[in-house]
């Protein structure tokens, strides 16, 4: 079952590279949260029950519902519905995404870590590269935020892959969640404009 969830997670990453509407990004972030919750349920069998319940509650509440809710609010208040037209065309982004997947396979193969499941390693690296690609190729700060969320999901998958041996890594993943949460709340509460280009028009 966990394999199906991992494959679906990888497919969401491909969809990230090809989607152009921010609402789709938000839905995908929510779906990734649900998938990570399912993966955590199946994978973290050696962690004690209280810790597992906490991790699942955190992924379900925070990643699957709270984040998409806050992001929808930011998109609604900013009125920006589509990825900026000055962002890299989707075709090239998808091409880079495919290259990122190949690079992830090569890197995961080169690392040869016996303690980490290779499939987790590949998907985590692919997720990491996809997040970075979104941040580098898009111009809107909200895309950067979503890119950061994907990066954070990559760290979470790394932590799940090694969770049984290194429970501290899971805590690092959750700390990142909290950090991103504060960041998003900052945008939500302060109503910052998502388009940083407008700052260039400021005059003193």
């Amino acid at each position: 079952m966990v394999n199906y969830l991992i494959v679906l997670f990888a497919v969401t990453l491909v969809y990230f590279a090809s989607a152009e509407r921010l609402v789709i990004y938000v839905k995908l972030i929510g779906l990734q949260g649900l998938l990570l919750c399912g993966i955590a349920l199946f994978e973290l069998k050696e962690v004690n029950t209280a810790n597992l319940v906490f991790i699942m509650a955190e992924t379900l509440v925070f990643k699957a519902f709270l984040m998409p809710y806050l992001l929808t609010g930011i998109i609604g208040s900013s009125g920006v519905m589509k990825v900026h037209r000055q962002a890299m065309p989707g075709f090239y982004l998808l091409l880079f995404s495919i290259l990122a997947l190949l690079s992830s396979v090569i890197l995961a193969n080169a690392l040869e870590n016996p303690f980490v499941n290779t499939i987790y390693m590949v998907i985590a690296l692919y997720s990491l590269f996809t997040g970075l690609l979104l941040i580098v190729t898009h111009r809107l700060i909200i895309s950067h935020l979503i890119g950061f969320l994907i990066l954070e999901n990559a760290v979470f998958i790394f932590s799940l892959a090694m969770g049984s041996k290194m429970p501290m890594l899971i805590n690092v993943g959750i700390l990142l969640d909290i950090f991103v949460g504060v960041l998003i709340l900052g945008f939500f509460g302060l109503r910052l404009r998502p388009n940083t280009n407008e700052l260039t028009r400021l005059k003193d």
């Binding site: 394999n3 199906y4 989707g90 998808l94 997947l101 396979v105 995961a108």
Partner: protein, 303 residues
Amino acid sequence: MTGFVLILIAASFFPGVIVRTKNIASGRRGPGILQPVREIGILLKKGSVFSNTSGIIFQIAPVITLSCIICALLVIPFGNQNALISFDGDFIFFSYLLALGKFFAIIAALDTGSSFEGMGANREVFFSMLVEPAFFILLATFAMFTGYTSFSDIFSNFFITGSHYVFIYSIIGFFLFIQTAMIENSRLPVDDPKTHLELTMIHEVMILDNSGFDKAMIHIGSYLKFAVYGALIYNVIVPAGWNIFLQAALFLAVQVTFAVIIGLIESFRARNKMNKNPKFILSLSAIALISFVIVLIITDKLI
């Protein structure tokens, strides 16, 4: 031989089921399921008209295209029965036979000297080029998964590998074969066969100059191609070892379902903008690549 006959039967009602589904979805009565076959009968009785600017290529291309497709369907197996032609690497033979047929259709379109047909040929070859990696990566995945490199061996061993990943490959194969069939046959969301404006056409604009007998050849080729992809879909979702009569019934059921899916897609989905098509097709390659990476991992080819 059973598979070959079943594909021919499926091809005869396939376009009719698509049209019937579209009619029901839009609340119209519509013609019978065999109406496209009757239309082909009418076209076959007519002669062909050739423009003065076109040459021999234009005259022979429809027949070559159809023969390539008929040869390609000889390598498609049915259930446990081997295909009429089966050898190692026959999926490459299959793919390049279809490509050869398409190549002749494209140079025939260029041969007419019409700028519209050249434009259509340009688009069609570009989309075919983009969908080719997805098809090959998917079949390479199947080959690696089962350990065989011919269609007959791949599909007869597909469900007896004992791996629990088989359902993932079934789903991915089902999805990618449907999308590849839609692109190869120039259907929605990449192309709309009912479009009336030459500037937005892809496949239809390429065959504007064909008439009568030649046009019948092109239509038969298109229907056969659908049935061939339907047979591939059948092979990845139905285990090969079942009773032959049950398999034949399921084969026809899968073909009808495939045609209904196409009819529903064409009824409820809009066509992509032309500049969005490359991205859409490339995303299929990305999905195929994910499945390939997984098969590399489960067969211990990595590390």
